[in-house]
Symmetry: D2
Subunit: 371 residues, 4 copies
């Protein structure tokens, strides 16, 4: 598992949690792949994951973990117990290379990934993007054509450049953010060309998760959703990033996709994201759904979700690494639509309702196991 943004809150929670689970200090709540449905299905063991990664800052992982503990995300007593191992992982987190040209940067990344895979003699290497959300890049024809792209790597935003390097290095890629990442058609083409799988985009950890079960409920009961409005209040690193209107727009669009896909029409109302620094890593989403039933009677549903972003995202990073690694070993390439269960904006042709996504996930693992 190669984490891009390895010193961010999600990554640090993933790693600390992984070490704590291995040490038997905590359970596996939140880890989907630890459910009985996936036991004995040939997924790589949590014990076998080797963690490395990139970041643009050098703050030690332990220090970051202590900050998260002070903010109520990580239980304090755990940290002492895993501090030694955390320091080991720390050595494998490199500064993100930035070279004179995009092509040279890609080469540097390929070198780092290959070296890491060789040194640890890994079966499969999964690059996971948990860096900050980027603004949408300006359109460019090279985004749609892998041949043209190779001569114009400078048109790629950082997340896509990373995906490109991962594919060229024969690594799988998971995009946990709403950034461009692998969503450019040229990168999909490249993944298939290189025979590596990828999954994305934008981990589904709160408001959209709930929408993906409530929207099918309204649809299957033939209730007409008249408006669906939502507001998300969040602090933390991702909140700050989203004060950038471009990044905010990328995120909002992926949040509304589920509604129009499940309902077959777009209800009135909008989805807002507001940065409230003091909420820290905890986020609150409030949705109001106004709907009409028999004879046009007007009714309402509202919900409030008080979640901890890192605690929700971190186990899914582990899940996606295991699942994508298993897919790579089974020679799957291109978009893993069967992992839509984990994403707001799934790559590939995938159902939008959570229950169908769950069925697809269970079948996917069975099929990998049988293969």
């Amino acid at each position: 598992m190669w984490l891009v943004g390895a010193r961010g809150a999600v990554a640090v929670t993933s790693v600390t949690g992984l070490l704590a689970v291995r040490a038997g200090l905590t359970g596996t709540a939140g880890c989907v792949t630890e459910l009985p449905q996936f036991s004995g299905r040939g997924l790589p063991d949590l014990a076998d994951l080797v963690v490395g990664g990139y970041d643009v800052v050098g703050t030690p992982l332990l220090k970051r973990a202590e900050q998260l503990s002070a903010a109520g995300v990580l239980p304090g007593p755990l940290l002492a117990a895993v501090a030694g191992e955390l320091a080991e992982v720390d050595k494998r987190v490199l500064m993100l290379p930035v070279r004179a040209t995009a092509a040279e940067t890609v080469e540097a990344v390929i070198g780092d990934l290959t070296a890491f895979r060789d040194r640890h003699d890994l079966d499969a290497l999964v690059v996971v993007n948990v860096a900050s959300t980027e603004p949408r890049p300006a359109d460019h024809p090279a985004h749609a054509d892998v041949t043209m792209l190779r001569g114009h790597l400078e048109v790629l935003p950082p997340s896509a450049l990373m995906a490109c390097a991962a594919f060229e290095a024969g690594c799988a890629f998971v995009d946990f953010t709403p950034s461009a990442g692998v969503r450019l058609p040229a990168l999909d083409e490249l993944a298939r060309l290189r025979g590596v799988p990828y999954a994305g985009s934008d981990g589904k950890t709160g408001e959209t998760l709930i929408r993906s079960v409530l929207a099918p409920m309204f649809a299957s009961r033939n209730l007409t959703v008249r408006s669906w409005s939502g507001v998300n209040l969040l602090g933390g690193g991702d909140g700050a990033t989203l004060t950038d209107p471009g990044a905010n727009a990328a995120k909002t669009a992926s949040k509304e996709r589920v509604l129009s896909e499940v309902l077959g029409y777009r209800p009135q109302g909008s989805t807002r994201i507001d940065y409230v620094e003091e909420l820290g890593d905890f986020k609150t989403a409030w949705d109001l759904i106004s709907f009409a039933g028999f004879l046009g009677t007007r009714m309402r549903l509202e919900f409030t979700w008080h979640g901890c972003d890192s605690a929700l995202a971190a186990p899914l990073v582990l899940d996606l690494t295991r699942l994508t690694a298993a897919a790579q070993r089974a020679n799957r390439s291109g978009a893993l639509a069967e992992l839509a269960f984990f994403f707001k904006d799934p790559a590939g042709a995938a159902p939008a309702g959570l229950a169908e996504q769950w069925s697809a996930l269970v079948s996917f693992v069975s099929a990998l196991d049988a293969a």
Copy 2:
């Protein structure tokens, strides 16, 4: 369609809505069987339903409809348009027979049902219980043995006596309430003996509907639900009935069933039903779910549902009548577990999550159609 409790809010909304839909005055929002998935699948047409029923009061349907209109449940302008037809239905609503013995009462009901079926030359007759919720009856050995039961009909509460009469008359039965109804093993035996199908119990129209999609969400994400507390505030006829502690207990138990079945454990917290007269036919449910994620981090979800009981229930009564009639024509007998989608406390072996119930429903209609 033979409605027991035909002058109650749910029944009057069903009938008024049915007439309005037939007259093209309103859409079919809330009617599940009007979704494209069920179109052309051989279900009886809404236009072909003939409505009769029982009640213990004689208030004219039009007057009841006007009361519901004043309460905001039925749109006023509709009533004038369907008043004539409502008066026609009114003639077919009889006083519920009460004879000296339970056996004589059953005979009288059989006579009414048979006469109605013959007079209107019906393919199938579905008796739908939408009367007030009863307290749970005291246990009796005859509840479990159809042979013994026939000599002890007096041990049956009214809802079960009605089911008994329906089965003996060769009619299908739908229990939309949490009353004992068809849930006694002897009645299941009787239905199978008589070769008629039945469905129940307790229409799923609000809090439990939402629980049936949220609980699977927590389960499939491996999030530990620590407590799930709920409160229901409702006025209207059913609210008043539920001030009876026995009736309240019956309802509460069926509301909590979905949680333990889906999660595999019983979270802390309880479910309350409080009668607040002034809320009328509108009900508000509030649930607080406290859950733990990765590393034990504590999080919360709360939702508030402001629904109109009659507007939610009425179209399901039409759906269940069509589906059960189709099942009877296809010679199905006994519990229709495939209709669990509609119920809080489904008869037969059925999944507890709404999405799986939906799949079962779609398959059920396809199979009937193919048969």
Copy 3:
């Protein structure tokens, strides 16, 4: 009472309600001046109010009332009973004059107001602005200097032009909107010069009303409000107006004022207004308050307000007319800070908490009565 925007939802609800109250068809819920504290205090009687006004559209009041009835704001049966009187008022609602220059427009308004006052032999005439919210005007030095202003009336937005004409005609003025209205210093000067009172701005009918009692609660308990975020979803005419970013900004600023004034600091978080057409005249506000108590412990309060804008505003329009007319009769001039109870953004030096505003209101009426 001269209503500017007399065919809008608030005005039509005020007038219909006034007629219904006079006819004994409805109670006076929502009318503050009907509370026992104000009885026998010399306020003009509801029976003595004569209503006229302006609008830019010509839709008959009855038709507008029917639309409001269909939207659930006005009870249908009332309309028939007051239709005749509503038609009488209709004749006194003129098209808003628009002349070649601002000065000529002012002259035309003065003429209309004077004619109305004379024809009905009124003691006092109160012009009430219930027109749509305007964007903030660009700053201009004449806004601060009544002498300069008289030569530059074209720098005034419509609401301020109306206030100017009212003052020149010797009428009192109430601004129920967040528009510039009387808030320009030159208009305050003019009112004092002309010896007429005014009240404003921006009727307090929902989220801000609640904030004006909750913020003092946090302050008096010495609890630290860390963030206070709010979202307002509203349809109706005012909602549509607020899609204009300028108008939205005017409204949002007046909503946040109460927090910083009461708390003495500005908590994090922002206040949003979103237009959701289908909500019609009903609006929903949701606020999340995150606060810290003893030893820094973090806690939360959230509230949801489902209000009907016109039903909340309309009785206050009647209250303000009575109170301002009484002030004019008592020779008060300039800003009536004692009416802060009714406004989001009170004119004059007024306390920000509702309870203190209430005390000020009660004292004000006593003092007028004694005078």
Copy 4:
């Protein structure tokens, strides 16, 4: 300050917080008497409080504090810093004496209080009841007559016996619980006889606090509250106590008092308290208020309060001690109605709205200071 229930969550939070404030380790958020309005008004200094008390268990205060820290109530790093001083206080917490007769128990308590006052040379001693809520005692004529009471001390529940002993020892008494405490008329008589003041009952820390500002808002706007329903979910020691129906009834009654007093009528709806162990010291209250405005239009307000009981109550215990001690020094005796600001069920003739209670409190302190 003599705490009855000194090892309970509220008491331990009070003491730990007091020590932390003195040591400059934390601020005074939540302490009302630290607001500028009370500065320099002659209240005893936090630095001058000497703490002792009673409990029925012997768990060391530090251990209890560690439990509260694990539950998220107290910040961990503080504990180490105050551990030494906490151990000092621990020595002054005695086992609650239980003798063969009530009269002997009272004697023992008087002895302990007198010894404590003498040893520390205290100006005033305030006994604060923060023990668990008791069921209501059965009525007895001696509850109303101090002379008869002295011969029948056995008819007093523990909280009232403690108040009796405090008064006989010349100490002031504060009842922070809804137990009978000082509410029996004979005890009020005794306090006046002995010339000591008392305050109570039932600290106002959550749902009732908010009700005490929202109910006046509805009243002053002449809005008709049709129903007001509330549910309280709480774990912790007090939650467990409230599973006793008698204790629950005592608490619920004091919660509803504010509504009928402020509104002048009793709206429909009830107030529930449910024990949910896993919520620990955090409690959630949800209220739904349904109200009617102008022309009968129906509207709603709902709020959810996520509070930490101990963090809310603890600083008020310090406030009440300071205020009551100052009252004793100023020779006040009997019920301190001016402290209604702090209580759900105030002793003496006090206004029910929070804003008026606040004004009364400010005036009270000014008057003490002037005296």
